[in-house]
Subunit: 290 residues, 2 copies
């Protein structure tokens, strides 16, 4: 296995050239797309796709389209989440959000364009990648919509408006809004790479808990972090009355839940050989600071 | 070949059950999705996918996922186009637009969910439909994003803001904003059904001109129609200084262009057997009233 930094570098390299070059009539749209897609990010989701593929013993090219697609999806989701009608954020990854830089209409379209581009990358992968690629495409596509990220985001807003919601609603939000798009690329990589069923099952469980841990760490950071370090606004969750782990469990309770989810992620890999990379990644969730 | 009405009925039947049933946490999102997806529409794009497949001599099931996917895409594009930051429309298909009925945040998410659902339908088709399905998926995905519908929509807004633009910009808007999503499903159907290259080339040309004719008819209707008949607001193009055929060529010039595009669509099919259905469809563009 390579290091996380190496996977992230490969993802960044692919992202640089994945969008078409601008023509006379789409300069502004492409600028908005590139602004958000290429702004410095951890590339966690894309790196997980590559790591899954390498774990399966296949060449990374098999997972690269999915790694790039999931980063396009992640970038689109951030653009739309930041819109005035949604979280109304002005700072992201240390820079003005897309709608602040390009206007609201162009930001909506840039998000739509990035999601459409993800679709194109996946369709092309299906054309050349056979059954494994088609399975991976179904996995990723399933994680995006109503029973995935968008569904979680909708419940996030419904809970916010209601100013209420219990553990079940919180769990739905954590699993769908966040964990779906962390678990799916990892599974995608395994499927595109042809991993066996046992590994798939274990990593499916691992990815879910890793993703929930990631969201809880995010909730904690919104209370404890410095905005300059975090690169985005803080204190927004309480301000907007969002249903978060911190709101429901308190800061200490949220930290305990983070610890518990991390342990469940590690437990899911027990008995599976060669998982040091993934165990280290889960442990980093506990000390996440951005 | 079946009649247009029969294809549209098959599309409507498929749309009724394509979205998942609501669970405790996604009622509002699903309601917004269904509100827009199932509101009465012509189902032109979905019907073209089925007609293309039937022309290729294949069972319609091969094209049905693409027919439903393109209608999901069309519904999402209408929701996002109607948003306050975009065209700011309050009336669509005779009913309040999605953001008027469900709020702006839920409308953005419903659009995202419908596009994601289109992706899922296409990915599933690739899992079972072999090489023809994968080609069809690439064709449809290519028509959606930067070099397709979203790119056209972006140029539409750029031209509107600039209050300017010549024939090249108008042609870019017509081809990308509108014709891409009329030509693509027809090609999708042919490809999923395994049509020969000659038919594909001819219908590619036909679909492009049919789509441009459709947009010009739309521009003309915005000036001449009664909103009650049309089911959406009229007179908006001039109000918003949109770059349309009517703005650039005048009403008579636009009608002449519509006639010309219709003739080019018909000409593309010359020498191809069994195209009565498609020729009749092109001729209907001249008398479109909704």
């Amino acid at each position: 296995m390579r290091t996380f930094k190496e996977y992230a570098a490969l993802v960044n390299e692919g992202l640089e050239t994945t969008l078409p070059a601008a023509c006379a009539f789409d300069r502004e749209l492409l600028e908005a797309c590139r602004y958000s897609l290429l702004s410095p990010g951890k590339r966690l989701r894309g790196s997980l796709a590559l790591a899954g593929c390498e774990y399966a013993g296949a060449p990374l090219e098999k997972a690269l389209p999915f790694a790039l697609a999931v980063e396009c999806v992640h970038a689109y989701s951030l653009i739309h989440d930041d819109l005035p009608a949604m979280d109304n954020d002005t700072l992201r990854r240390g820079r003005p959000t897309c709608h602040v830089a390009f206007g609201e209409a162009m930001a909506i379209l840039a998000g739509d364009a990035l999601l459409s581009h993800a679709m194109l990358l996946m369709a092309r992968a299906c054309e050349t990648g056979g059954a494994g690629a088609a399975r991976a495409a179904v996995t990723l596509a399933s994680a995006l919509g109503i029973r995935g990220m968008v569904g979680g985001q909708a419940q996030d807003i419904v809970s916010e408006n209601a100013g209420a919601g219990g553990e079940e609603a919180l769990s739905y939000i954590q699993r769908n809004k966040t964990a779906a798009l962390i678990r799916a690329p990892l599974l995608c990589g395994l499927q595109a790479g042809g991993a066996d069923e046992r590994a798939e099952r274990a990593f499916s469980e691992y990815g879910l808990h890793l993703g929930v841990a990631f969201q809880i760490a995010d909730d904690v950071l919104d209370v404890t972090a410095d905005p300059a370090t975090l690169g985005k606004s803080v204190g927004k969750d309480a301000e907007e009355n969002k249903l978060t782990a911190v709101k429901l469990l308190g800061l200490n309770g949220a930290r305990e839940a983070l610890q518990r989810e991390t342990e469940l992620a590690l437990k899911a890999l027990e008995g599976l050989p060669g998982t040091a990379f993934f165990r280290a990644l889960a442990q980093q969730m506990l000390v996440r600071n951005s």
